[in-house]
């Protein structure tokens, strides 16, 4: 039993005061903890929490930059921007979603069958953000909606920037087109830079110069509350907001001459084929046409499945760029290259005449190689062999060259490799060699001498594109200068209109070919158009200026090789491809052209007249006289060729050649 305790007020007060001091000590410790915590949050980690606070309440709304224009050499607009209208629905403000959509379907503004999918998409969005439910409204659709707008609360028409190609199909394979950004493209682009951008270049200049045309998107910051809704009157909070205006993309100036481009497309109309015309002195593409074509506006607009299938299933394949992608045997247009190679290698004496009959067989073999239509060339030298396009003569040249030397020479003229044009998707063609044959047909019969023989007339496994052929014509025109073909010649700042001109790129110079060799071959190509036995004589008979040309008839079937061939009786798919290369004026060329018309028979027959009309359109003024040569911009060039490029002529011309100049 503990003793009875007496209440001692003084002792209790002392205890109390001690306890209070103890509690005070605890409170001081707690206060220090709170202050330490506040110091940590508000001083040490201030910037971290400031960033988080900004990220919380500030939403960055991208402002897309205006896409650069694409204009031709004269400044005519080929690709521009224009506002289009889309139907937007703000879920918050629509009282009856399904009913509204059904009424829109009655106006044919949405498809009845799309409604469940649309509702699902709308429900997945923030309820106060507008959702596009129909893009690219036509004017009549806008009008149809506008008169009944009062029936559709929460549904509005909103203007958007879209791409517009005012010339429609014209030059579509050069200009290309834009379309909505696909999932695979999304993986390759800088997504931050493309925030707010709806369309991206899919082909042509639009794709190649995407980085130039796109510009730099700007942004505008808005305040949003915790629900993500924009705060319309931010008051003092507005001082935390920033804005950066977009920088529009540069305009791309292309070298196309729309007059020539339009003519080329008109001449190809109704046929499958391609025309490539370029300035041999800088590689500028004057015309790049492929037929049939398509309207690029379809893609910028969001092409419908039906329209797309119609394009894809068209047997003539209008989406296919024949100029850059069609790899075909080029027939006799190869002969000047073979001749120049053989002359330089010393296996061909240009003046020696040999007898060329209707056919020829390899030594020690009885397999016959026929002339075209079993013609007999007679006793001819190189000049006549090119003029008449004598296959039997060139069988022998090719045989003497041998495949190794042919395989080494043809790439000098740009064959077997991409030309490097500034349009994506170019094919490289094929220069076959025994090594290639062994690699790709390991179980085949190897390289036969016969393969070499038919390579001499551009047949067999040799393939080239129309662009490569135009490039090759340009090398012939400049006597060895290989300028990289190009469409974009300059970039123009849309605000200052300052133009940055791009320099032409010289990829090669065939200095090993002697002057006399060039003279022989180019004189013969002139003869093709002037000699009555020339294959292009009748095409060019009315020419008022000297022209160099070479025809090609690429045979696609075996019967043709045997010469038993009737154009009309052969199914279209198996008929000869008609090729033509030309440059003019002969000694001061301004344009080099390659023409392909598929399944149209002999080169002189379908492709030749097209080439002639293009030459005349480009070179002749309204009075039918040759236009004066336009002064050429001077670019920095290797010193040995600068005067030639500046003059547009070979300074080593003979007196007679000079006299022959216009």
């Amino acid at each position: 039993m503990s003793p009875v305790r007496i209440k001692d007020n003084w002792r209790e007060q002392r205890i109390f005061v001690r306890r209070v001091w103890f509690v005070t000590a605890l409170m001081v410790i707690a206060a220090i903890a709170v202050f330490a915590r506040l110091y940590y949050l508000q001083v040490l980690r201030r910037h971290y929490y400031e960033d988080l606070s900004v990220a919380n309440g500030v939403r960055t709304v991208p402002i897309p930059a205006a896409r650069g224009l694409i204009v031709d050499r004269d400044g005519q607009i080929m690709a521009s921007n224009r506002p289009t209208f889309e139907l937007q629905l703000t879920p918050d403000e629509v009282p009856d979603l399904r009913g509204s959509l059904q009424r829109l379907a009655k106006l044919a503004l949405v498809r009845e069958s799309d409604i469940p999918e649309l509702i699902r998409a709308i429900k997945s969005q923030l309820s106060f953000d507008p959702v596009p439910i129909r893009v690219q409204l036509s004017e009549s659709q806008v009008a149809r909606f506008a008169v009944r707008r009062f029936e559709f609360p929460g549904i509005n028409i909103s203007p958007q920037q879209s791409r517009w190609y005012p010339l429609k199909n014209l030059g579509v394979f050069a200009i290309g087109y834009v379309g909505p950004i696909s999932a695979s493209e999304l993986a390759h682009i800088n997504q931050a830079a493309y925030a707010g951008t709806a369309l991206i270049g899919k082909s042509g200049i639009e794709a190649q110069y995407e980085h130039v045309l796109h510009g730099t998107n700007g942004y505008r910051q808005v305040l949003v509350n915790a629900l993500g809704r924009e705060v319309r009157r931010p008051g003092v909070l507005a001082r935390q907001l920033h804005e950066k205006p977009p920088v529009p993309g540069d305009d791309v100036i292309v070298s196309l001459d729309l007059k020539i481009q339009r003519l080329a497309e008109k001449l190809l109309k109704g046929q499958d084929g391609a025309v490539v015309a370029l300035n041999p002195w800088n590689g500028n593409v004057i015309a790049l046409a492929s037929s049939p074509t398509f309207n690029p506006n379809l893609f910028a607009r969001g092409i419908s499945e039906k329209q797309y299938l119609a394009l894809v299933n068209n047997p003539d394949n209008p989406l296919f760029d024949r100029a850059l992608r069609s790899q075909l045997p080029i027939g006799s247009t190869i002969k000047p290259a073979i001749a120049l190679g053989a002359l330089t290698e010393g296996v061909l004496n240009p003046t020696k005449r040999i007898y060329a009959g209707s056919d020829w067989h390899l030594p020690g073999s009885d397999h016959m190689f026929h002339n075209y239509k079993h013609e007999v060339c007679g006793r001819i030298g190189l000049n006549m062999a090119i003029i008449m396009s004598c296959d039997v003569y060139f069988y022998q040249v090719a045989y003497k060259m041998g495949i190794e030397r042919l395989g080494a020479w043809l790439p000098n003229f740009g064959f077997g490799k991409p030309t490097g044009i500034d349009v994506p998707g170019e094919q490289s063609g094929l220069v076959p060699t025994p090594a290639w044959m062994a690699k790709h047909y390991p179980h085949g019969y190897g390289w036969y001498p016969g393969d070499t023989v038919i390579l001499g007339i551009g047949q067999g496994t040799f393939l080239a594109t129309p662009l490569q052929l135009a490039h090759y014509a340009g090398i012939l025109a400049t006597r060895g200068l290989s300028f990289r073909p190009r469409l974009a010649t300059g970039l123009r700042n849309p605000l200052t209109h300052k133009i940055h001109w791009k320099r032409p790129v010289l990829d090669g110079n065939l200095t090993m070919i002697s002057r006399s060799s060039w003279q022989v071959v180019i004189k013969a190509m002139h003869g093709v158009t002037t000699n009555p036995r020339g294959t292009a004589y009748w095409d060019m008979i009315n020419a008022t200026y000297p022209i160099a040309a070479k025809t090609g008839t690429a045979q696609l079937t075996r019967e043709e090789a045997n010469g038993d061939y009737n154009l009309k009786a052969t199914p279209k798919k198996l008929r000869d491809d008609s090729w033509f290369i030309t440059f003019a004026p002969l000694y001061k060329p301004r344009i080099a052209i390659a023409v392909l018309v598929e399944h149209a028979g002999a080169g002189a027959r379908a492709a030749g007249p097209i080439a002639m009309k293009i030459l005349n359109a480009y070179l002749l003024g309204p009075n039918g006289k040759l236009l004066p040569a336009t002064p050429r911009a001077r670019y920095s060039m290797p010193r040995d060729i600068a005067p030639r490029v500046a003059a547009g002529v070979d300074p080593t011309l003979t007196a007679t050649e000079r006299a022959a100049q216009p």
């Binding site: 209440k7 915590r37 949050l41 001083v43 949003v224 509350n225």
Partner: protein, 378 residues
């Protein structure tokens, strides 16, 4: 000149002493009243911004303050003897009201905490925040101190009955605060240190066991406190957003009415439990330091007053009122800054709503009564 200066000086002194006489007549303590007034005024300034300039909220708070002041004035006039004698009755009334809540209480947000008295909603648990320390002090008043084991057992029952009832509502935060108020009385009465340590250990064990019987959301709150980033959009959201608000305020704050966290609704409960974060965001560390200094002054003055009291009841109750006030401030500040788990404890005198302002001012009214009538006590 000289005479004039002396005259003005003496007239100023006369005014001051006049105010002192009024306070004396009202049985109020001058410094404490001054501190409470400044804190409440600061609170109104912050509340106006936190509510987005909502005048109705401001007026509501002013009315609550007026009610609290009236109760404080009334309590200050009462004699401590009367208060002491009323303690068991008040306690009993509180228990009855808690039982009534359990029977017919108004359910709001899943918890049964309110009694509807006509147009007024009333939380009986608020009453217990005062009644329990009063009851404990009353019990110890007549006993020789420090308390013995038997006293401790009786006090345990006195404390745990209302705590259990409030915890059942469920309102764990208030239950813990009521328990703390009782515990403070026992501690101040001079309970031996080794018993205190033993009881603390017991509390830890009880907490561990309690964790197993908690509601899912209660346990989640605690676990969220330990790792807020694990549930950034659900239970961790409060803590993360309040820390962003405080941290982004920096040293000097974003300015009055310019706290984006609060104005753009990112900060939840910004006018009530998390108003401390609004102070931190808009007035920075400096503004919080001013607020905390005001609180320090109020608490310090309260403890001083309690120490001046001559009798056990007054000392213990006064000390408990001061220390529980500190506990509210500390838990609220700690919760907002992520030092302690999120429990629904308002910031005294600043947070909007509820009956807490009235309870707090009542406590100070009692404290002032205890002090100003000290000469009459024996």
């Amino acid at each position: 000149m000289m005479r004039q200066a002396i005259a003005t000086g003496s007239s100023a002194r006369r005014t001051l002493s006049g105010a002192a006489r009024v306070l004396l007549a009202l049985k109020l303590d001058g410094p404490l009243t001054f501190g409470l007034g400044l804190t409440a005024g600061y609170g109104l300034l912050v509340l106006f911004s936190a509510s987005g300039g909502n005048l109705r909220m401001l007026i509501g708070t002013v009315l609550r303050l007026a009610l609290g002041i009236a109760v404080m004035l009334a309590l200050a006039r009462l004699s401590p003897n009367l208060l002491r004698r009323a303690s068991p009755w008040l306690y009993g009334l509180g228990i009855l009201l808690l039982l009534a809540v359990a029977a017919v209480g108004h359910v709001h947000l899943g918890a049964k905490r309110w009694l509807e008295l006509g147009p007024v909603q009333f939380q009986p648990s608020e009453l217990l925040k005062i009644a329990v320390p009063m009851m404990c002090a009353w019990y110890l008043h007549e006993r020789a101190l420090p308390p013995r084991w038997r006293d401790l057992a009786v006090l345990g029952v006195i404390i745990l009955v209302p705590v259990a009832l409030v915890a059942k509502e469920p309102d764990l935060g208030t239950a813990a605060l009521i328990a703390a108020a009782g515990a403070v009385v026992i501690f101040l009465s001079g309970l031996r240190a080794r018993v205190v340590i033993a009881l603390l250990l017991l509390a830890v064990v009880a907490f561990g066991l309690g964790l197993r019987f908690m509601h899912g959301y209660q346990r989640a709150r605690l676990l969220t406190f330990l790792d807020p980033q694990a549930h950034p959009l659900s239970s961790g959201y409060h803590i993360i957003q309040s820390q962003i608000a405080v941290g982004s305020g920096g040293m000097f704050g974003k300015g009055w009415m310019a706290g984006s966290q609060a104005r753009l609704d990112f900060l939840p409960e910004r006018t009530t439990d998390f108003i401390f974060a609004v102070v931190g965001e808009e007035f920075g560390l400096l503004g919080l330091a001013v607020l905390l200094l005001l609180y320090t002054f109020v608490i310090g003055r309260s403890l001083y007053l309690a120490m001046q009291c001559p009798d056990t009841f007054s000392r213990l109750l006064g000390g408990a009122i001061a220390v529980t006030f500190f506990i509210y401030v500390f838990i609220n500040a700690g919760m907002v800054t992520g030092l302690v788990p999120v429990v629904g404890v308002p910031l005294p005198l600043v947070s909007y709503g509820g009956s807490s302002i009235v309870t707090e001012l009542s406590g100070f009214g009692i404290l002032m009564s205890l002090f100003s009538h000290r000469k009459l006590m024996g």
